[in-house]
């Protein structure tokens, strides 16, 4: 951390206590409540830190941790603030750092905290028409096994009306809509063909994963962490494992680190193909959709044949991987993905020469770079807007530093730019897999982890962008707090940027080019 940054922070909050973790280089700033927003703002605006997530912990006191991710390998910072348990009022950070907006809304809803100055609180994760007012499920006092009195759905929630123009109305879509879409509700504010704004109402699929894992062993928690967002299961299992391993100060065998890169890239390869397929389908390009669906299925079969599971469940372990792979199997998989990549290249060639397809993507759902930065967007969506953040490059984990990873991006920020980023990234993924197979060291791919008490967090660049997992374990090796900050949560927050003043028929296309998961957001 630079000296002038330290100085600046000292000026903003003279009583700041700075703690640097020797092993990881992470820096923690313990600030008072009043100056926390300004310190966060200083990191975000003056020092190029990206807000990564808010972790609220109810311990002897309230502890709020605003996590920031920088551009250097040691670039993780936590701004921490505390308050007595009977005092739930905090200054809102999101007034100054907009990316924290939804994290504070969530904390208000699930912990009952109050964020002074926050413009919009209330019905968010817990839907007012189902959940009992005043019950905060993430509080210590709430026991999951306690049956709630009002579990029967009742009518209550009504959409807000904002459009105030003659003929203006809100068109509701979902939560059950389209052929095979995930459950989410949208309000399109429209005066007919033209839609002015589109707001998602999420958390229909809230399953309370972060609460359910409390009190469980890390190994049991891993099962859920792997299965709350099944299309990116391995990446999340990896982030969770890495957090636990950091806490235990465990060294993971080199071979496991390389194989983790292989599997994570295989997952990205398949996930991106799935998004590309969804984009083709959303534009009504039938042949393109079926051709890319063939590629997705091939990638799934390669994954299944190599690992025993099409979605790579059951592979990540605390301390490495649950199984090893022999050379022949890895080469077979690699040949398979290389063939699929060739095919994908041919499909891309056809796509970029199909003007009716391009017309529907170009200039559709565009996001400017400064908006992407303001909302702290992540993943291919951010990179397509020229916001080139990729944890594989900025804070390499596993064996990415040894594989020479370089991120790719575009600048236009529209649907077409997002599609191109996806195509470039699957090329990179195959490159990475090749590097792994060429340089794979011998040795074990697992070494047991002895659990330690305390908290740690880790970030992984999942297919949809950066995910941050925070884990606190108690002295019995049980999870005390687990926080899953996911890229879909981050990017849904910015979805409305791409869905402003567009023609109604473009809505599915904008959705598809965002490539978001509702399950990953809802948790």
């Amino acid at each position: 951390m630079s000296d002038d940054m330290m100085e600046q922070i000292k000026k903003l909050c003279p009583k700041t206590r700075v703690k640097t973790d020797k092993r990881s280089g992470d820096v923690e700033f313990l600030c008072d409540r009043a100056s926390t927003p300004r310190v966060c703002q200083c990191l975000a605006e003056d020092h190029d830190f990206q807000f990564a997530g808010l972790v609220v912990e109810e311990r002897k006191e309230w502890e709020l941790n605003y996590i920031f991710s920088g551009v250097t390998p040691n670039g993780r910072a936590v701004v921490k603030t505390k308050a007595p348990l009977d005092d739930r009022e905090f200054e809102s950070v999101s007034v100054l750092v907009h990316a924290a907006d939804w994290h504070e809304r969530e904390a208000e809803d699930l912990f009952g905290l109050v964020f002074k100055g926050h413009p919009r609180l209330g019905d968010f994760i817990l839907h007012d028409d189902v959940w009992q007012e005043g019950v905060e499920p993430m509080r210590r006092a709430f026991k999951p096994e306690t049956a709630l009195s009002s579990r029967e759905p009742r009518d209550g929630w009504r959409p807000r009306k904002i459009v105030d123009v003659p003929g203006g109305f809100i068109m509701p879509i979902g939560p059950v809509f389209s052929g095979d879409a995930e459950s989410v509700h949208f309000q399109l504010e429209t005066i007919g063909e033209e839609v002015m704004y589109a707001f998602p109402r999420l958390f229909f699929k809230y399953r309370g994963v972060e609460k359910i894992v409390e009190g469980r062993s890390a190994e049991d928690a891993l099962l859920l962490v792997e299965r709350f967002a099944g299309t990116t299961a391995f990446s999340h299992a990896l982030a969770f494992s890495m957090a636990v391993e950091r806490l235990a100060k465990a060294d993971i065998p080199e071979r496991a680190k390389f194989l983790r890169v292989f599997l994570a890239e295989l997952e990205r390869f398949r996930s991106h193909l799935s998004t590309i397929n969804a984009i083709c389908a959303s534009t009504g390009l039938a042949v393109g959709a079926s051709q890319t669906a063939i590629l997705e299925e091939k990638a799934l079969r390669i994954s299944g044949a190599l690992t025993g599971h099409r979605y790579l469940f059951g592979l990540a372990a605390l301390g490495g991987l649950t199984r090893d792979f022999d050379k022949i199997a890895l080469h077979t998989a690699l040949d398979g993905v290389a063939d699929v990549l060739d095919e994908a290249g041919r499909v891309e060639n056809l796509l970029v020469n199909t003007s009716s397809f391009l017309d529907r993507l170009e200039e559709v759902g565009a996001i400017e770079r400064d908006q992407a930065v303001l909302h702290g967007l992540v993943g291919p969506v951010a990179r397509a807007s020229g916001y080139l953040r990729d944890l594989r490059e900025t804070q390499p984990y596993a064996a990415y530093d040894k594989c020479g990873f370089k991120s790719v991006g575009e600048v236009e920020g529209d649907g077409y730019a997002r599609l191109r980023v996806l195509f470039r990234e699957i090329e990179r993924s195959v490159e990475m897999m090749k590097r792994v197979v060429a340089e794979l060291p011998d040795g074990p791919c697992y070494s047991p982890v002895s659990f330690a008490k305390g908290a740690a967090f880790a970030g992984v660049e999942t297919p949809r962008g950066a995910a941050w997992h925070w884990v606190r374990m108690d002295k019995n090796g049980k999870i005390e707090r687990c926080r899953l900050a996911t890229p879909s949560f981050t990017n849904w927050h910015g979805f409305h940027l791409a869905a402003e003043n567009f023609a109604f028929q473009d809505f599915p296309i904008i959705l598809a080019t965002f490539g978001l998961s509702v399950a990953e957001n809802d948790r």
Binding site: W131, E145, G179, F228, A293, G304, F313, P444, Y446, D522
Partner: protein, 255 residues
């Protein structure tokens, strides 16, 4: 445009033979533990996190509706439970009358995500792809429950989705069928003890066929679709005979 036609033609016919014959391609299914016989398997039974494996007659028995393919019973454990590479996992439940003949050959499906992780839904989506091509068997996805003969529900039924689920079910015209897809909607799966989810779909609406799997691969869902529409006689008996596969790989410790 002509490029697309050539591309389409070049791909040729890739559709699976199932149900006219078995599908033996690699990676179409994760398979299931098949603990036939075996003694002294207490250790792997003890490692099963969902109680899918239970002790029986000195050996182990599998409740496939609880298994989440976590491989804790065959990796880094001694002895190991053997696995098969099956996919015909669906079972009939309800006693509702069969769909009239006219609906059996052309079935319209409303897919309802009641809180799934995305994997079940993706496998369901893939039934539309050329490999599985469920249209050839007369299965069509419809956006409206009012035109649906069959409701396919995925996920552990999150509390927030209950109203939508009940409304969709009620909006369907009779005769209607319901199929539950995935371990989560069968038994709660890993969300069994959750406070925001129902334990199983059968507690909420009548269910005709249950397809387990975490997630069930497309072929398993297709098997369920044939059962729920009363078309099991179309499954050729040799389609079910499949060899056991070695999905366990090497022990993580060696290499």
């Amino acid at each position: 445009m002509s490029g697309w036609i050539i591309k389409g033609l070049k791909s040729g016919v890739v559709s699976t033979h199932y149900p006219d014959g078995g599908e033996n391609a690699q990676g179409v299914s994760p398979g299931l533990p098949s603990p036939a016989g075996g003694v002294g398997v207490d250790t792997p039974i003890g490692r099963c996190p969902t109680s899918a494996l239970k002790a029986k007659d000195g050996g182990a028995a599998l409740d496939k509706f609880r298994c989440v393919h976590c491989h804790r019973c065959d990796r880094n454990v001694e002895p190991t439970i053997p696995w098969d590479s099956s996919y015909e996992w669906a079972e009939k439940r309800g006693k509702t009358p069969e769909l009239p003949k006219a609906f059996q050959r052309s079935t319209h499906i409303r897919v309802l995500d009641a809180g799934d992780c995305g994997a079940c839904l993706n496998e369901m989506k893939l039934l539309n792809n050329p490999f599985y091509n469920m249209h050839r068997l007369g299965f069509f996805i419809t956006p409206t429950p009012r035109q649906a003969d069959l409701l396919v529900v995925l996920g552990p039924v999150a509390d927030h989705m209950k109203t939508a689920l009940l409304k969709a079910y009620e909006a369907m015209p009779a005769p209607k069928k319901v199929m539950s897809v995935g371990t989560c909607s069968a038994t709660g799966g890993v969300f069994e003890d959750g406070f925001m989810t129902s334990t199983k779909l059968e507690d909420i609406i009548p269910v005709d066929v249950v397809v387990p799997g975490c997630p069930p691969p497309p072929l398993a869902i297709l098997h369920g679709l044939l059962l729920v529409t009363g078309r099991e006689d179309e499954i050729r008996s040799d389609a079910t005979a499949r060899p056991a596969a070695d999905s366990s790989g090497k022990e993580a410790g060696d290499a």
